[in-house]
């Protein structure tokens, strides 16, 4: 008897918890994300505001760990037939998501089927380009975007009598002077070594990282980043590493404390580092565009984005998709984008939001928050600067880092290291091509 009651209660709990029964309940939309701290607050506020704005749908945000964790949780949930409606996936997971035809619902299709007003032209092309097919069909919805910038410790530069560098040769010179002025463990450094020194470097100089528009035009892409520019750049870093004018700070962003502590006065990393710099740096700072090589014709081109986008998972009901589409429209609203931009430091994704923030004088006090936008919109994106779409990108980056580390440690020459990185990467791309759903 008691057992039967328990069963009924459990059944009730299940219906209440996962209920999507249209008879009386609102349609629930699960949103898995990887945002912590202040950015988590932004997500919760967005969901709360959306839920308050109408009565048919309810967005439920759930934190699922860091980017790879969230993605793995989503993949595991999909395999178990339990995927969320919306999943935040970092930019390097794009190819994996794209290859999974059937597992995801492309945003442009979703919006058309749900009858939502949707014009891809209102979004900043530098951002949407990353998440669109070469025909301009938007596959996922950009959410939090950033780009690589050069963070500068203004006080230390002033002390060493160094101007803010604009080109790479100027940066190397500045770092040498800074080292002479007392920064003997680190003249300059950076995080995400492959993102900054291979991916962004190539786009910024309009040089291909891989064939087929860096993979955007097909999975049969091959890596091409062992060209003269990249080799020369790595050779210089290897040379400077010997005297610690440049000092390697690791594959991820664990070395960022070296900038905020004042150890490295020049530091290349994501513009999303802003929150930490603001909270911890006890000096005047700014963020300027990445340096470029002046002898490369047409440089600088435009940078590519980092961050994440929202993917809509496949196999849900039309009613649920309608809610998801409404939510994406809600997020595209200009005021809302301005709010996200200001609260998180990530870029606004619509042109209107950018204009509005500018008109409000948001960049007057904090010009460095506009830097990544200026980099992204510097020139009309080309085949080499529209974005990257390489399968198994997380592991590819690890393999590339391994080779760069070998070069920096003096075990291989820069050319050998990049050649091996290309070779090993290509093997992985072929592997990915075999498994990708055609």
């Amino acid at each position: 008897m008691a057992l039967r009651h328990f069963g009924a209660a459990a059944a009730l709990a299940v219906t209440v918890g996962f209920g999507s029964s249209p008879a009386w309940a609102v349609t629930e939309i699960q949103w898995w994300h990887a945002m912590t701290g202040a950015n988590n607050d932004v997500i919760v506020k967005l969901a709360t505001d959306f839920n308050a704005s109408q009565t048919d749908y309810k967005v439920i945000p759930t934190y699922k760990g860091n980017y790879p964790d969230t993605m793995n949780a989503g993949i595991a949930a999909f395999r178990a037939g339990n995927a969320p409606h919306i999943m935040q996936v970092f930019e390097v997971g794009t190819a994996t998501m794209m290859a999974a035809t059937g597992a995801v619902k492309p945003v442009y299709k979703l919006m058309a089927e749900a009858g939502e007003k949707f014009d891809p032209k209102i979004y900043l092309p530098a951002i949407t380009g990353y998440y669109s097919t070469s025909k301009g069909e938007m596959l996922s919805f950009p959410f939090n975007s950033s780009s690589t910038v050069m963070w500068v410790n203004l006080d230390e530069l002033k002390k060493a009598n160094v101007e803010i560098p604009k080109t790479w040769p100027e940066t190397f010179e500045a770092a040498k002077k800074l080292k002479a002025a007392g920064h003997d463990t680190c003249g300059f450094s950076g995080s995400w070594v492959t993102w900054v020194n291979l991916e962004q470097l190539s786009a910024w100089h309009n040089v291909p990282l891989a064939s087929k528009a860096n993979g955007l035009d097909g999975f049969d892409t091959v890596l091409e980043f062992n060209g003269p520019l990249q080799v020369k750049h790595l050779e210089t870093l290897v040379e400077l590493q010997k005297t610690k004018v440049y000092d390697y700070a690791g594959r991820t962003n664990t070395g960022e404390g070296r900038f905020t502590s004042g150890e490295c006065p020049i530091y290349l990393t994501s513009s999303a580092f802003f929150g930490n710099v603001k909270a911890q740096a006890k000096f005047n700072f700014t963020a300027v565009p990445m340096p470029y090589y002046p002898d490369v014709k047409g440089a600088p081109q435009n940078s590519i984005i980092g961050g994440a986008s929202l993917w809509v998972m496949g196999g849900k009901s039309a009613e649920e998709y309608k809610g998801v589409a409404k939510f994406l429209t809600f997020l595209s609203d200009t005021d809302r984008q301005v709010y996200i931009h200001k609260a998180s430091g990530y870029l606004p994704i619509t042109k209107a939001a950018y204009e509005k923030a500018k008109a409000e004088g948001f960049y007057k006090d904090q010009p460095y928050l506009e830097t990544p936008l200026l980099e992204l919109t510097n020139k009309e994106p080309t085949e080499n600067s529209r974005g990257l779409r390489l399968g198994n990108m997380v592991q590819l980056r690890d393999v590339w880092s391994e080779e760069i580390e070998q070069a920096l440690a003096g075990k291989k020459t820069a050319k050998q290291a990049l050649d091996t990185a290309v070779e090993r990467g290509n093997t992985m791309l072929r592997q990915f091509e075999k498994t990708a759903v055609k």
């Binding site: 035809t101 070998q406 440690a409 498994t435």
Partner: protein, 293 residues
């Protein structure tokens, strides 16, 4: 003495063993079987398409020199971790076994590190020895050591061995202490009366009588170094610099979970499984005979 239990019913013993058997089947054999099946497939991360490829995943692995490097590295790491943590734990246990004031306190404190999860161990050591964050790194550099495990593979490997061995010391200590206390005092007293010095007493009395414990711990430690050090590697070096800290288990993780290459990852875990079976077999067949019980 009679060792056999007597059951009245023929079914009862089976019924009593059944839950245990069910657990073993569901949680050990079923996943192992899944891994074997998976290792013959080529599958995308979402499981949308899969092709049967026979032994391709294995062949790919054996064509890859990096895989052999990982095998050699794993064995080296395991022995280094097992030997260093065992010898240090034995030293501590022998010292804590002496009649000391407050010995209970020492013993308790020595056991604490075992409660720390491997990734946390990684983070703790990172805080001490990371080239830029680390507290100890500053002193090392002050002493003129070019300390940079981000680029120096040997230093990184040393760091992993140090952190992994440190975590295991508590566990070994606990067993050694129990083993030491199980040795009858009268044996020591007899040896002492015969005029044996402390060092001689240790090598001729204590050590042989401890050998079952040592043997057991050796197996446990090697298995630990094989499988449980993954969290430490992931938080401390992510396999770098270069590939100097990629062990077999870490490779399973990075290929399977980060790389989405489930077939290769499964093939690697099958090989690992075989390796452990063989290792354990060898240990119990040949080494155990030499152990005094």
């Amino acid at each position: 003495m009679q060792k056999q239990a007597i059951f009245q019913s023929k079914l009862l013993p089976y019924a009593l063993v059944a839950p245990q058997l069910a657990i073993v089947l569901i949680f050990f054999y079923w996943p192992a079987l899944q891994a074997v099946i998976q290792s013959f497939l080529l599958q995308d991360a979402f499981g949308l398409s899969s092709t049967f490829v026979w032994f391709d995943n294995y062949i790919e692995l054996f064509k890859d020199p990096a895989y052999f490097e990982a095998i050699v590295r794993t064995f080296f790491f395991s022995f280094a971790i097992a030997i260093s943590s065992l010898s240090f734990a034995l030293l501590l246990a022998v010292m804590a076994d002496k009649p000391l004031r407050g010995s209970m306190l020492y013993r308790t404190l020595l056991i604490w590190p075992y409660a720390v999860a491997p990734p946390v161990v990684g983070v703790l050591w990172i805080f001490m020895l990371h080239p830029s964050l680390g507290v100890l790194s500053r002193y090392l550099r002050g002493l003129g050591v070019d300390w940079n495990p981000l680029l120096d593979g040997n230093q990184a490997a040393g760091l992993i061995i140090l952190a992994a061995a440190w975590k295991q010391i508590s566990y070994n200590f606990l067993f050694f202490l129990a083993g030491l206390q199980a040795i009858p005092r009268s044996v020591f007293e007899a040896a002492a009366i015969d005029g044996a010095r402390p060092m001689r007493r240790f090598w001729t009395v204590t050590f042989p009588l401890l050998s079952p414990t040592i043997f057991f711990l050796l197996v446990v430690n090697i298995v630990y170094a094989f499988f449980d050090t993954f969290g430490i590697i992931d938080t401390m070096t992510r396999g770098g610099p270069g590939t100097s800290t990629v062990t077999l288990v870490y490779k399973v993780y990075s290929d399977g979970l980060l790389g989405g290459n489930l077939g290769s990852s499964a093939a690697q875990s099958v090989i690992l499984m075989v390796m452990v079976i063989v290792l354990t077999g060898i240990q119990f067949r040949f080494v155990e005979r030499k152990v005094t019980y």
